[in-house]
């Protein structure tokens, strides 16, 4: 029997309504994705804007003399700042690697012990402490308290404390990914805990551990506030002293010179910003590449 026209019309109406509903949902979804895409675009525009500013004005300010002359007042070069940043970076890494690795190893290898839980919790706490608080601590205890004055030692120790949890966490995560069977096989062959961890597990975990160390390097190059009160500032190359002598660093130039009403000062600030940003981004790229290669 042929369907009645009433049924037909009802079905048609329902069909149209369903199509309208689907279309509206598609439109809403489309708008939703458009908004999400806009969010991503906003982020990308921002980063391009920031990096673009630093690159354009920084490259314009680059000259060979920047790397060969020291800062003279509000002009001159960046030799002292570059060298100072390098010296403090090395000092920081020398301190943070043994302690950070040990903390990470202990938490990864003996996870059930109470001490490991304490270390893991406090590492998270340490990561969250603002760097200025640690800089203030460094100022009152080392610069003033111990009488070291502005010094490489005070700055490196402060930076090491700041970057400690990054190294510790990266090591812990890296070692946790080493399969347990490997350890069991090594123990079965009579190796001690030290050998198992350092010679066998670390070999596998090394790339990820290195990304943690690179992160610590990036922190020590990019920090400003804690260094203002522990390293001070110097217009001259490092004099080899670990205490009692202030030292220059690139981030100081960015902070202090952008305000000065002299074009030479602005040029130095942008050049310093360019150097710091490039270095930090290269570290970021290197970390990425290490992780990608490891996954292959």
């Amino acid at each position: 029997m042929a369907p009645s026209s009433l049924d037909e019309r009802a079905r048609e109406a329902g069909e149209i309504q369903r199509r309208r509903l689907i279309r509206r949902r598609r439109i809403v979804s489309g708008i939703g994705w458009a908004l999400c895409g806009t969010a991503l675009a906003l982020l990308c525009i921002s980063i391009v804007w920031i990096i673009g500013l630093v690159v354009v004005r920084g490259v314009a300010a680059l000259r060979p003399s920047l790397f060969t002359t020291v800062t003279q007042g509000t002009g001159g070069g960046l030799l002292n700042a570059i060298e100072g940043t390098a010296v403090m970076a090395v000092g920081t890494l020398l301190l943070v690697v043994p302690f950070g690795l040990s903390a990470g190893i202990y938490v990864a290898e003996f996870p059930s012990s109470r001490w490991a839980k304490v270390i893991r919790f406090l590492a998270d706490v340490l990561v969250g402490l603002p760097s200025i608080v640690l800089g203030y601590f460094g100022y009152v205890t080392m610069v003033e308290g111990l009488g070291w004055q502005f010094s490489v030692a005070a700055a490196s120790i402060t930076l090491a404390i700041i970057s400690l949890p990054y190294v510790s966490r990266a090591t812990e995560v890296a070692l946790a990914e080493v399969p347990q069977e490997l350890r069991e096989a090594a123990y079965a062959m009579g190796a001690g805990t030290g050998t198992v961890t350092l010679r066998i597990c670390m070999r596998l975990a090394l790339p990820a551990v290195i990304t943690g160390v690179l992160l610590a390097l990036s922190v020590s190059v990019g920090e400003t506030a804690p260094l203002l009160y522990t390293a001070g500032w110097s217009n001259y190359a490092w004099d080899g002293r670990l205490t009692g002598s202030p030292i220059g660093y690139l981030t100081y130039v960015i902070w202090a010179f952008i305000n000065e009403p002299f074009a030479s000062a602005h040029a130095l600030a942008y050049a310093a910003a360019f150097l710091v940003t490039t270095f930090v981004l290269l570290i970021s790229v290197a970390s990425r590449l290490i992780l990608i290669r490891r996954r292959r």
Binding site: A39, I47, F99, I119, P130, V133, Y136, T193, G222
Partner: protein, 320 residues
């Protein structure tokens, strides 16, 4: 010493550092804490006193006449700038994460994720440089006047728009700094969701957007909240960028979104030199009290975040 003992001792540097910082701040700030009392948190005056007058005795402590310490404007400034940063960063972060995880093919997804993470690597002082050099003139001359004309009927968004230094700018710069944290955590979490969920939703006729919006994201609420709290913790402690764009208000609460503010972290940097002039030493101890307050807030916020994120596979990815 065995290997385990050596690792335990060296690894103890982490708890030792935290303990040293907190204990030290507490001991150093104690005279100020005792003098200022709870009023420290609700008074709105940070006054070193008459630096060139004779110190007087007050409750057994030598202080400068007129010295009074209260950080209400700092607390308000910190909370408001972080709130604005979160209000801007969360939608943008979630949206970008969803787009990255769902829409983009693997090639662009890799590059654009990396681009977003680069934003996280840029040092705070460079953000401050960009904010000071281009963002503030741009906002102050073009965006804010238009904004106050169009939205001026909403309280707090009207005239005067100032020069670009202020609460909104600080919140904006902060949001850029914390968005990568939210976006990358969420992107990984979304991508880690099993295909079965998406297939089931598709079988029921949901569009991809509806799948994300109504199925996957609600399921990720604890991760999202954890990521947000982590981001908030980072925003609360940001120093240099905020210092360079916030306008450094002293003893005033902001009256509009364009008004200058001060945050606790930026205040410590900008006031440490002034505080050192106080011959009685009270000003530095009051600053240590500010640092202690900041420390405690950061600890509470971060602990809450980790607790919320604990157990999820995402924790392992949290390297920052």
């Amino acid at each position: 010493m065995t290997f385990r003992q050596t690792m335990a001792v060296l690894g103890g540097s982490v708890p030792a550092s935290v303990a040293a910082v907190v204990v030290f701040l507490l001991l150093y700030a104690w005279p100020a804490i005792r003098l200022n009392g709870f009023g420290f948190l609700v008074r709105n005056t940070w006054n070193l006193g008459s630096l060139y007058a004779e110190p007087v005795r007050h409750s057994g402590v030598l202080i400068l006449p007129g010295a009074q310490y209260g950080i209400l404007f700092l607390i308000v400034g910190t909370l408001l700038s972080t709130a604005i940063a979160m209000a801007l960063a969360v939608p943008v972060g979630v949206g970008a994460a969803a787009f990255l995880a769902e829409i983009l093919p693997p090639g662009p997804r890799l590059w654009l994720s990396f681009l977003v993470e680069m934003l996280a690597a840029i040092p705070s002082v460079v953000f401050g440089l960009w904010g000071y050099a281009v963002l503030i003139p741009f906002l102050g001359q073009y965006v804010f006047p238009v904004m106050s004309r169009l939205l001026g009927w909403i309280p707090w968004l009207g005239e005067p728009t100032g020069s670009g230094y202020g609460l909104l700018t600080a919140g904006l710069v902060l949001s850029l700094m914390i968005v990568p944290l939210i976006a990358s955590i969420l992107r990984d979490a979304i991508a880690a969701q099993p295909m079965e969920v998406r297939e089931a939703a598709a079988a029921l006729g949901a569009t991809r957007f509806e799948t994300i919006w109504t199925v996957i994201l609600p399921g990720l609420r604890p991760v999202l909240i954890g990521a947000c709290i982590l981001a908030m913790g980072r925003a609360l402690g940001e120093t240099m960028a905020v210092l360079m764009v916030s306008g450094n208000a002293l003893n005033v609460l902001p009256v509009s979104i364009y008004a200058p503010v001060s945050t606790m972290a930026a205040f410590i940097v900008s006031q440490l030199d002034s505080a050192l002039q106080d011959p009685t030493g009270l000003a530095v101890r009051a600053l240590a009290e500010v640092a202690l307050a900041l420390c405690l807030i950061a600890i509470i916020v971060n602990t809450a975040a980790r607790a919320l994120l604990a157990g999820s596979a995402v924790t392992a990815r949290l390297r920052r």
